[in-house]
């Protein structure tokens, strides 16, 4: 199918289009990866802040009365969020509770993880610090969330670009490639001299394709006219040539054509009869005009020179004396 060959407009355009889309997609995805990681980190931090806001008053109560069980319940509640890796609640400098996700490092082992720390103040004296709550973020969960979002963006971007590419290719196929192929097929079988013309593709009467078809048809019309004119001129020339040939062959006057050096190129039957030489059509050799049986050869040469110098026809009556014959 030549339409979709390696050199077709569709394949070339689709290749450039897909390459552009892949480049745009790659740039988008790279930007997404860069931005998403930071955004997820900020979102996780913000979420942890909100969680701390939620439990702040309860933690304050737990720290105030040093209620380890209440603090433990708070920690367990916080750990239900996958973004929380561990929770440490201190009251008056001593750990009230330490909790972490199953399998995760606990206590100081999470010091390298991103974490939030907030001082806890007395519920009855906002200026008095009575403890501290520290929440370590679950970096793995944040990475997983980042990965999920990036994967979603990649799929979304590829899907969108793929759909756009398909749409563009379909549009090119319908509005450009198929009409051009139809024109090409029509041109292959078109005989402009018989008045055949390309049909304008459907729905392309006013488009560039339609204008191109009209231009091609106009060129074909001009070509047909030129060919007809050339044929008429050729026929007329043939008629004229036949007419002059008839005159040349049937004249009683000797007519010849000679080169500058006097070599005869052509002569009519009357010339052959007068000078006693073979008919032009039968003669195979080279014959110079000076070799003929002129009575005054120099006069012939003189006439030839005059004709050549003046570039005009010359005429004169010349006597000939055939070998063994009478003067004529």
């Amino acid at each position: 199918m030549r339409t979709f060959g390696r050199h077709s407009i569709l394949v070339r355009s689709a290749s450039v289009l897909l390459a552009s889309f892949f480049l745009a997609g790659a740039l988008t995805i790279a930007a997404t990866i860069l931005v998403t990681g930071e955004r997820q980190h900020k979102a996780a931090t913000q979420h942890l802040e909100q969680l701390l806001d939620t439990v702040e008053s309860t933690v304050s109560v737990a720290c105030f009365v040093k209620d380890a069980q209440l603090a433990d319940e708070v920690a367990l509640g916080l750990l239900k969020n996958q973004e929380v890796l561990s929770v440490v609640i201190e009251a008056d400098g001593a750990d009230l509770v330490q909790r972490s996700q199953p399998g995760a490092p606990s206590g100081t082992a999470t010091a390298d993880y991103p974490h939030l720390s907030r001082d806890v103040y007395s519920p009855f004296n906002p200026g008095k610090r009575i403890g501290r709550i520290q929440v370590a973020a679950n970096a793995r969960a944040i990475q997983r969330a980042t990965y999920d979002e990036v994967r979603f963006v990649i799929l979304q971007t590829l899907g969108q670009l793929g759909l756009v590419a398909l749409a563009v290719i379909a549009v090119m196929l319908i509005f450009i490639v198929r009409p051009i192929k139809a024109m090409s097929d029509g041109l292959h079988h078109l005989d402009a001299t018989r008045g055949e013309r390309l049909a304008v593709p459907t729905n392309h009467g006013d488009t560039e394709i339609g204008r191109l078809v009209q231009d091609i048809n106009n060129l074909a019309g001009d070509l047909a006219d030129t060919l007809g004119q050339e044929r008429r001129l050729r026929l007329a020339k043939e008629v004229e040539e036949r007419k002059y040939h008839s005159i040349f062959e049937n004249a009683e006057t000797g007519i010849f054509i000679a080169a500058q050096d006097g070599i005869l190129n052509s002569w009519n039957p009357a010339f052959a009869r007068l000078l006693g030489i073979p008919a032009n059509s039968d003669f195979q050799g080279v014959l110079n005009i000076r070799q003929l049986a002129w009575e005054n050869t120099s006069r012939v040469v003189e006439l030839g020179l005059n004709a050549r110098l003046d570039n005009v026809g010359v005429s004169d009556d010349l006597a000939i004396r055939p070998r063994g014959g009478n003067r004529r």
Binding site: T58, V61, F64, V65, D67, A68, L70, P123, F124, N125
Partner: protein, 143 residues
């Protein structure tokens, strides 16, 4: 009902409220508790369950007035600047764990005074006019 009677009734209704708003509360302990003065912070710690021990070392037994008594709301307003709803919410959180408990709530102001007089570690709030030899003022809460 005449206009004058209505006015008298209104005055009768408003007078106790005015009198309560003007109540002069004091924090008192049993006269034999061995405590002479308490700071406001110590009072907060005892009444809000942080510590249940008097500075003299004996266990503290905080006593609340009944919810119906306006002195209770006034006391917590003066002590920690919170209303009763906030205090109840505070204790609701702590009741869950059971580590500490709210102050013992007397059935009446008279019972509160009686408990203060009978229990050595008792600590409570009453109007200054109710103070007698059985109890000792350790903190003047003011008005």
């Amino acid at each position: 009902m005449t206009r004058c009677a209505r006015l008298l009734l209104l005055l009768a209704l408003l007078l106790p409220a005015w009198a309560r708003a003007d109540a002069d509360l004091v924090l008192v302990v049993n006269a034999k508790s061995g405590v002479d003065r308490l700071t406001q912070e110590e009072a907060v710690n005892i009444f809000m369950g942080r510590y249940r021990q008097l500075p003299s070392g004996i266990p503290a037994v905080p006593i609340d007035q009944p919810d119906t008594q306006p002195e209770k709301a006034l006391f917590y307003r003066l002590l920690v600047n919170k209303d009763l709803a906030e205090i109840n919410a505070y204790w609701a959180r702590l009741l869950f764990s059971g580590r500490t408990s709210p102050p013992h709530q007397a059935k009446s102001a008279a019972e509160a005074l009686d408990l203060l007089a009978r229990q050595r570690g008792a600590i409570g709030y009453i109007e200054r006019s109710q103070v007698d030899a059985r109890v000792k003022i350790v903190l003047d809460l003011g008005r």
